[in-house]
């Protein structure tokens, strides 16, 4: 087993009663990767992360963390973790809980550094029950990084954050990534996966259906999008004979998805349709993923 492998799964599977939450999975996450685990709610993302961290035991196969049993405190000492819907004692102050979590590690980050990375400097003395949803997420992030971890496991970390905070959070994750840290985060925001990940694992109904860098996933869907204003002149029979996969109208703008944009444009021009603000772009990651999963909840 490679020493620099953070997570290794060999046929790891999890069944809850009759529900197969994760089908047998073979996978390795190497040190330094930023991996987004993308899929709709109930796809098996949290189960995956729970097996990787030893919070759940696989019903078949094995999961290893830094080559160790994930429940081993030596393995956990190299990780930082943000989980969904966990709490901390409400009457404590931010610096108190941060100091407590720092005490679980031998070489923690200094408290000011933790609070500054998490963007909580102003809230050092605040009681936890006074924090907003987004500040709370930042507190959990602070607790995750206070041990100066080699690997971060973040289960839906940006839930409850506003757009601005979310973007700042992404840039902090990218900083950690460029500092050589491993990040595994689950999300159902395609934009989030695309913004930070070097590798995207798409999971649906407990099965990994894609595992590739964002660019490769996008290339996998060869669709191009031809979009323009002035759709009023466009009639259905105008596009019927063209190599078109899908047509969308939104706010007076028309988008045509096609594998052959040249043919579509030639067709439209030959019909003398006035195309304002014409744009031809590669399909987004969203287009790629919605095509693969059942699509529900992925946005």
């Amino acid at each position: 087993m490679a020493v620099d492998s953070v997570v290794t799964m060999h046929g790891a599977a999890k069944q809850f009663g009759g529900v197969r939450a994760l089908l047998p999975t073979d996978l390795a996450i190497a040190s330094g990767e930023i991996v987004a685990l993308l899929g709709p709610n109930g796809a098996g993302k949290t189960t995956f992360i729970s097996l990787a961290l030893g919070l759940r035991t696989p019903t078949a196969g094995t999961a290893r963390l830094f080559g160790l049993d994930p429940r081993d405190r030596r393995a956990r000492s190299r990780c930082g973790v943000m989980l969904q819907e966990t709490g901390v004692p409400e009457y404590l102050r931010v610096y108190e809980i941060v100091d407590m979590f720092r005490s679980f590690y031998r070489t923690p980050l200094p408290r000011p550094e933790v609070l500054s990375i998490a963007g909580l400097e102003e809230k050092t003395e605040a009681a936890i029950h006074t924090l907003s949803g987004g500040q709370r997420q930042r507190l959990y992030f602070a607790l995750a990084i206070c041990g100066d971890p080699e690997a971060l496991f973040l289960d839906e970390p940006t839930v409850g954050m506003d757009v601005e905070t979310r973007r700042r959070f992404w840039s902090r994750l990218r900083d950690l990534g460029s500092a050589g840290r491993t990040v595994l985060l689950t999300t159902h925001y395609i934009e989030e996966a695309d913004a930070i990940a070097s590798r995207i694992i798409v999971i649906d109904k407990g099965r990994i259906i894609a595992d590739a860098p964002p660019r490769v996933l996008k290339d996998r869907v060869e669709l191009k999008r031809v979009s323009f204003d002035g759709a009023t002149a466009l009639r259905d029979e105008d596009v019927a004979s063209l190599p078109v996969r899908r047509v969308e109208h939104e706010n007076g703008r028309t988008s045509i998805y096609t594998v052959d944009p040249q043919a579509v444009l030639r067709g439209l021009f030959s019909r003398n349709i006035d195309l304002e603000n014409l744009e031809v772009v590669g399909a987004s990651l969203e287009d790629a993923v919605v095509g693969m999963t059942s699509g529900a909840d992925v946005r």
Partner: protein
């Protein structure tokens, strides 16, 4: 880079102390916990002890006797609630899940709560003794104070394991009710509110099966009342500690399998 070393895991004692500090602060900041726990024993003592402080009961002053009784009640209440309520809250809010994902030792979780409980118990005893002293309810030698305090702290362990068991068996709201249903009748039937000699015979004979009675005996012994030998009290308290610990651990492992299986 080694994958087998403990070089990143925090040492045990600092993490126990850091946890103890947080546990104490969270108890201290819950007004529904800290105020009644300090004030009720003092209030009981003012109402039931002070007016008859110089009369005699069981061969000692009523003031002394009831100081030991309400001191016992105070530490039992601290231990039951400090453990029962915080453990059930930690489970309900999934704090335990988050802590499990860290390299925190279970000993730090347990040890931190024990130290916070002992410290809070100490504060409650000192508040009660100080009140009794300034109101001239007692005039003890310092050694007697020390003996009483130490005995109460040593004897609090069965209530720690009992609180832990309730914390693992009950939800956060039912835990408070269950703990009151245990605490008040047990304290009453153990002679902490009404002195044992004034109790009906059937209460006196059955009290021996209650842990609170044996902690009371330990405390009354410290102020010179005639009681069972201290080693008998300690043996009973040790036995109860083990029995409740077994129940608590069974509940703990049952939940482990359910939540982390």
């Amino acid at each position: 880079m080694s994958t087998t070393g403990w070089e990143r895991v925090g040492p045990l004692w600092p993490s126990i102390l850091a946890t103890a500090r947080c546990e104490f602060m969270r108890l201290y900041r819950i007004p529904g916990f800290s105020i009644p726990i300090i004030a009720f024993p003092v209030m009981f003592y003012a109402l039931f002890g002070l007016p008859w402080a110089r009369q005699h009961i069981n061969g000692v002053d009523v003031g002394d006797y009831l100081l030991a009784s309400f001191g016992t009640y105070a530490v039992i209440t601290v231990a039951l609630f400090a453990f029962g309520v915080t453990v059930s809250n930690d489970r309900a809010s999934k704090t335990t899940l988050l802590m499990r994902a860290t390299p925190m030792s279970p000993l730090a979780y347990l040890g931190g709560k024990i130290i916070a409980t002992l410290f809070f118990s100490f504060v409650a005893i000192v508040a009660l003794i100080a009140f009794a002293f300034v109101t001239h309810g007692v005039d003890f030698e310092p050694l007697t104070w020390l003996g009483l305090t130490l005995r109460l702290l040593v004897g609090v362990f069965p209530f720690i394991t009992l609180g832990f068991a309730v914390g693992y068996l009950a939800g956060p709201n039912s835990a408070i009710a269950i703990l009151q249903l245990i605490n008040l009748p047990m304290s009453f039937a153990s002679g902490l509110f009404v002195a044992m000699p004034n109790m009906p015979a059937y209460v006196r004979s059955s009290a021996t099966f209650l842990p609170a009675f044996h902690l009371g005996e330990l405390a009354w012994g410290a102020i010179g009342a005639p009681v069972e030998p201290a080693f008998v009290s300690i043996a009973w308290l040790g036995g109860f500690t083990v029995v409740f610990a077994v129940i608590a651990l069974r509940a703990y492992y049952r939940e482990e399998t359910k939540t982390f299986g």
